[in-house]
């Protein structure tokens, strides 16, 4: 940790941005270096705001559900119904789909809102740009599909289904099985976490490049370069729009893959 990192996180423009741009200072400087370091930062604020907004909205919108929904009830149902119908039920069928839809929907909503802080003015950093949060979610997904597999088939049969692809010639199994173990048991959570993290990390970096770059050009003594800064800011805005697509897409991909892994654990076939 350097002092410049703290200063940067507080908004001083230092160009170019780097990994130090992802360091956020503790709100209470007394906590730095203790076990409670990193617990009260802009990053964790984003996490708690996400939870608070979702909890308050859903409890409020679904206080008195009616057969003919009100507007807010319809919005809440659509948010849940989207994942329930297009991910859970499409992948696993009606019975299992309805069983896992609540978790998948919660996962999706959590990731979407966490990602969304990346383009909210004043925060403009997604907690998912720190690998801790995507990793935590990926580990939960891993625990869930392993547990579902073992519970459905038993440990041995689940392992057989997961790591022994049927129909291959015998001599190739010594090669195939380690690959399958790596791919289906070890790398799945890693790729899940990395995909989400890298997207949000890169998105933040791109926004920083254009916005900080714009300020840097504005501070230039050359009038011509100052004038060019408008293009940099324009790109910043365009990239923010692009970021919105990434936000939704990555949340959907994470949820969809988790759903597919769980479905794979439920299914009889490899």
């Amino acid at each position: 940790m350097t002092d410049s990192a703290i200063v940067l996180a507080e908004g001083e423009s230092h160009f170019p941005p780097g990994i130090h741009s992802f360091d956020f200072a503790d709100w209470f400087s007394g906590l730095t270096g203790t076990a409670l370091a990193h617990v009260f930062t802009t990053i964790t604020l984003g996490v708690w705001l996400t939870v608070a907004i979702l909890v308050v909205f859903f409890l409020w919108a679904y206080r008195k559900p009616q057969i003919v929904p009100t507007k807010k009830q319809w919005m809440a149902e659509s948010a849940y119904g989207f994942i329930r119908n297009t991910v859970a039920i499409d992948l696993m069928g009606k019975k299992d789909g309805v069983r896992f839809a609540p978790y998948l929907a919660t996962l999706f909503l959590f990731i979407v809102l966490m990602n969304f802080w990346a383009i909210v003015p004043g925060i403009q950093i997604s907690p998912n740009a720190h690998i801790a949060f995507p990793l935590m979610l990926a580990v939960l997904s891993w625990i869930m599909y392993v547990w579902v597999g073992i519970k459905t088939h038993g440990l041995v049969k689940w392992l057989k289904i997961t790591v022994v692809p049927p129909g291959a010639p015998l001599f190739i199994y010594p090669l195939l099985i380690p690959i399958e173990i790596l791919q289906n048991i070890i790398l799945r959570p890693v790729t899940l976490a990395l995909r989400l993290f890298a997207n949000m990390f890169a998105g933040h970096l791109i926004l920083l490049v254009f916005i900080l770059g714009g300020f840097e050009m504005l501070n230039s003594s050359n009038f011509f370069i100052q004038g060019l800064s408008i293009f940099s800011f324009g790109m910043g805005i365009a990239m923010t729009m692009f970021e919105l697509i990434v936000i939704l897409l990555q949340a959907y991909v994470f949820t969809l893959l988790t759903g597919m892994y769980i479905q794979g654990s439920l299914a009889e076939e490899h």
Binding site: V51, V55, I67, Y80, T106, H130, I131, A132, F133, M136
Partner: protein
């Protein structure tokens, strides 16, 4: 905290405090949504499906009921028409019978009146005849007495005839008086 000194790979090492915060926050969110919100949504969805299917079922039932009612109504209408026809026929028959009866009794009455008239006329005639007969007898007797008084001495035949005639009248008068 990520140390710039460790190089770019540092960003791949999670901060454990953040993982813990994330787990607690996400756990709380899961608890609330999965326990209190989404099951109620599923219930609402089911209730909605029920409401729609129930509505269709109710509509079908109502349709069936309507058909039954219509059928019943038609049956009743047919029965009523038959009954009306029967009543009309009966009424006509009754009227016919009544007319016949009236005619018969009227005819009887007329006959009776005619008969009574005849009887009365006959009785009057008989009475007149009787009265006339006694009158005629008396007159005849008176006349005969006068004739007989004048010629009795001279004619034996006449005497005999008058005697016989008187005897007959006397018989007849006595008979009529007796009958009275």
């Amino acid at each position: 905290m990520i140390h710039a000194a460790e190089g770019g790979a540092a960003i791949l090492f999670p901060i454990w405090q953040e993982m813990l915060v994330g787990a607690i926050a996400f756990g709380l969110l899961c608890f609330v949504l999965i326990k209190f919100v989404f099951p109620r949504m599923e219930k609402t969805f089911e209730a909605r499906v029920d409401a729609i299917e129930g509505g269709i079922e109710r509509a079908e039932r109502a349709q069936e009921e309507a058909n039954q009612t219509l059928e019943e109504y038609r049956r009743k209408l047919a029965t009523a028409q038959e009954e009306a026809a029967a009543i009309r026929d009966e009424a006509r028959a009754t009227a016919e019978a009544g007319k016949e009866e009236i005619l018969v009794s009227a005819r009887e009455e007329a006959n009776r009146i005619i008969a009574a008239g005849h009887a009365q006329a006959e009785a009057s005639r008989q009475q007149l005849i009787r009265e006339l007969r006694s009158e005629v007898g008396n007159l005849a007797v008176d006349l005969a007495g006068k004739i007989i008084g004048q010629r009795l001495a001279g004619d034996a035949d006449t005497t005999a005839t008058v005697d016989q005639f008187l005897a007959e009248i006397a018989d007849e008068t006595a008979e009529t008086s007796g009958a009275r």
